[in-house]
Symmetry: C3
Subunit: 458 residues, 3 copies
Amino acid sequence: MDGAPRRAACRRLQLPLLCLFFQGATAILFAIFVRYNHETDAALWHWGNHSNANNEFYFRYPSFQDVHTMVFLGFGFLMVFLQRYGFSSVGFTFLLAAFALQWSTLVQGFLHSFHGGHIHVGVESMINADFCAGALLISFGAVLGKTGPVQLLLMALLEVVLFGINEFVLLDLLGVKDAGGSMTIHTFGAYFRLVLSWVLYRPRLEKSKHRQSSIYHSDLFAMIGTIFLWIFWPSFNSAPTSLGDTQHRTALNTYYSLTASTLSTFALSALVSGDGRLHMAHIQNAALAGGVMVGTAGEMMLTPFGALAAGFLAGTVSTLGYKFFTPSLESKFKVQDTCGVHNLHGMPGVLGALLGVLVTVLATHEAYGDGLEDVFPLIAEGQRSTTSQAVHQLFGLFVTLAFAFVGGSLVGLLLKLPILDSPPDSQCYEDQIYWEVPGEHEDETQRPLNMEEPDTQA
Amino acid sequence: MDGAPRRAACRRLQLPLLCLFFQGATAILFAIFVRYNHETDAALWHWGNHSNANNEFYFRYPSFQDVHTMVFLGFGFLMVFLQRYGFSSVGFTFLLAAFALQWSTLVQGFLHSFHGGHIHVGVESMINADFCAGALLISFGAVLGKTGPVQLLLMALLEVVLFGINEFVLLDLLGVKDAGGSMTIHTFGAYFRLVLSWVLYRPRLEKSKHRQSSIYHSDLFAMIGTIFLWIFWPSFNSAPTSLGDTQHRTALNTYYSLTASTLSTFALSALVSGDGRLHMAHIQNAALAGGVMVGTAGEMMLTPFGALAAGFLAGTVSTLGYKFFTPSLESKFKVQDTCGVHNLHGMPGVLGALLGVLVTVLATHEAYGDGLEDVFPLIAEGQRSTTSQAVHQLFGLFVTLAFAFVGGSLVGLLLKLPILDSPPDSQCYEDQIYWEVPGEHEDETQRPLNMEEPDTQA
Amino acid sequence: MDGAPRRAACRRLQLPLLCLFFQGATAILFAIFVRYNHETDAALWHWGNHSNANNEFYFRYPSFQDVHTMVFLGFGFLMVFLQRYGFSSVGFTFLLAAFALQWSTLVQGFLHSFHGGHIHVGVESMINADFCAGALLISFGAVLGKTGPVQLLLMALLEVVLFGINEFVLLDLLGVKDAGGSMTIHTFGAYFRLVLSWVLYRPRLEKSKHRQSSIYHSDLFAMIGTIFLWIFWPSFNSAPTSLGDTQHRTALNTYYSLTASTLSTFALSALVSGDGRLHMAHIQNAALAGGVMVGTAGEMMLTPFGALAAGFLAGTVSTLGYKFFTPSLESKFKVQDTCGVHNLHGMPGVLGALLGVLVTVLATHEAYGDGLEDVFPLIAEGQRSTTSQAVHQLFGLFVTLAFAFVGGSLVGLLLKLPILDSPPDSQCYEDQIYWEVPGEHEDETQRPLNMEEPDTQA
């Protein structure tokens, strides 16, 4: 009876203080380091005597807004399928992503665009920050319902740094190509949190089992998330590529890949169920695997057929993962993957990285012409052969996996600190511990929530 | 007791096998025929020595994404109003549209852009494929809840071909102007399925009557569909027009037309109800009729007033159709039009075609200046008089109706084949036969579903 | 027993007749006055011998579509949180906004762009009309649930005129800068309706108290509105600014400001609740205050740090307003503010105007270079000093408040006319008096609605 009020008081202060501290810290760092770049600064832009039509804004901003929609609405609503965790799914997505945009502006800025003591920001840094937030939200899916907002914010703090370093190593040091982030976003995000979920394993989670499923309306809300992710994924993969044909081709490849993963998901979902009926969780997730799959190879000369084949494979593997792999992931490996992140982002991400290796090996001067400079600058400049580039691509995948495993383990250990507010096993997947849920007072007799139950975590 | 398990086994295999076969077939055809066009191919684009800013991508992709949102989210959620058919509405929309994008890339490619043995794809073919998927989903509304996914996929296979041929006859052979598809999309889609719905008439559908209505939340979900269709319709009509003033003017005309159809829908909905109350089905559908109405004339010099008048007429006719025509459509003509497709797409589509005839007759060199080349190239080049063009426009409408009637009849007869999995009368508008619906096991005692009931179709 | 049928008959005719009259009147005015501008007119555009790539459409239309989404979907769904008023929230939003787009095209056209006896329209007038509709919907939130559609349409008629005049005085006469409308949209919209809500005060509204709260699913629907507003707010503030760096910078500032208001909202929401739990109403609304706050200063050289600080302040003030100010607004000032418009738009709008004054004072030729012409043309041309411009900005705020107070009072008095259909106290926040609600017949025994209850308003 004594622990509960203390814990409640603790919870009351941990979240707001952390938010205020994080916001204060990033604001100070922004004041010291962050400046408008030459396309957003009034004086710098007009010095250049540019035509307004050439401002990067007009080439990137529509794609940025699609990405922004995916991050905040798509990932947020995709996780609303849990019947009693909708406020948390969409609310914590909102909080984490808002923090990540600021924090990754700083981290990515220090690593990628730190010139003259300043970080320079514009639409490209906005896209990069949203990409980092995307990786974070992918990871969120693996620990959804089992972690409190304070834990999530600390995770975000560390994961953004690790994401930035991994991205820096891959793109800047190794010269790896990964525009849509099959490696940097999907593989990293998925395995980071799977390891973390393994460290934070809860053996008695069946206490909340009844809340881990969806209800009819929560599945429809989740489909809103799915569809926005699906329609805007071509913008996601193409947002940061070179302009012109590359951006155009990336969008086209992603578009075809997604159509194929949708068809294979429907086929496999009906095949693997005992009675031929479709399963919503497959459609909501595996149909998107085609977008993950061409994250690396999408900007290359994959060909429309290649995009279809890749998407087909991704949807198949992802659906089979939901049916056969996720259950054994928990029973054998003690990893509780709430959203099936391993099926949507993990396996398709790794396959996408390997596809990138393959398409890189097949690159020829004939197929790319002068466009080789846009896609493989190091090959075009004669610094690397296609084989060498392919080996670097493959090495990038291993680096990413290493970062994810080591990072996930360390962050997991930190989050096991008993001081941090974590929901007890019986309260997982439940909004009421973090939110004032409407109508809860009237229904209290029906849905009793024992707040004083001993915390089995600490 | 014997037929049911056999039917279930049959159902278990029909859908996945059809998906796999269709995907395999399109993939092979893609491998043989589909290539990047000169704006998406790295070598071709760089040969041309183009400025990246001139890549068609930047002029079309934002509109494409709006169209894409309408097709997948708009049409999908518009049909979620049925209380027990939300998974199917949004899920089958997803499946059909994903297949249609691939298949119509091939069909439209063979008919419109087959050069040197190859189909060349880019953002324009993406828009055209989405348009064809739109026509398909319009039709879906007329048979919603009464057809299984296997029937729907076969319908899609045939309708995409017929859509492509009709479009080819109108745009390429007859030189008809129909950018937003009043004829090719709305009239064709609506009458194709109405005929089909007539062929597939089910006399005992009142068995599922209780599931044909909406509930409070399902109507709100449907409003999400409506609003996305409404806001992006200006992009739909303007996506494929000539660049510059034509695209700009089409968006503007559609914007005004929709505001007027909204006002007339609210007015008529309150007028025709007995007690002055508004009906959600009218608002969800008839308010959109203004977009359908200016599908042909939107790119012409319709004038802002003309757009308002057209929208007003469309909203009025459409709302009156819901009140007075739909009931008699079933009782007199034996056509069961679940979503009221005839009111939203059929009548406004025909009126839109006629409006196109009228505005074509009124076209003058004075009003269009050198812009005549963009809107009426055959008139500008002296090959046709305005009257001749108008006659061709009118002829295009009849051709479209003929294609829809003949095509709908033939496809309907095919779908009556008893081998195809079709929901029994008592199971129409019900997700559970195709989807694992959450919570159904607990509720089974409340909502008993007799799966062994004799199929009244075969 | 006699008054009720008469009132019902009256209601039956008031709304449709008003819609038809308004639509007829604007159509006639459109026929007389409204013409395509030189970028939408075929002949005018081709006279100019322009490159199609330079058509204003390509620089503004993507932003326009984001604004359009905010107005129709964002504001509409934000208000769906009321458990029994979803149809009205989203439906009346639709009706009011559709009318406002037409009517404000006329009003703003007469005031801003009336040349040679004609109003010329294009994408800029579309953006401006949507902005005016936005102000209207902001106001809608303050009287939500307590006013009928006829009252709302009359309000719209008058408010659009007052909005247009206020905007004309500020932007054209006083030379005030207010691209994102901290003053013209948010401050005006909020205080106009707060005054109006004060005039229309209903002392016995607790009769409908049980319907003023949200339920679980209605809060999730509202979050869809919130997130679309949040993600597209950068487009809202930047849509009407000068092209190039100014538009780019405005989007960037708004983006950062929103992230900070989100963090401060989560912090404060947890702090002010007794038990550390978050409140959905805060997240749904106060997190957006950062966008309101930089409506004026967003296009200026606010710096990224300034954007964060401004957003932080806005989120803090707004959340505190929900907790402490809204309750006393009703108890002390007799203002019933359904949606907390004062917290989201009122206070942040005023603070945003003051921030604009501050940043104007700090403007230097050094910081803006030749870009000064784009942001402060009167300073660049030497007609004003920065101090003088700042004083004009401050004066603009007072003018806006004066317009809002006087306008709100007059319109409120007009709306108290007993002839106008207004919901009785016991029927507020209830869809059934205006909509045919599905399932109401079955449930009639459970939710009895006494339609004949004496109207306590008249």
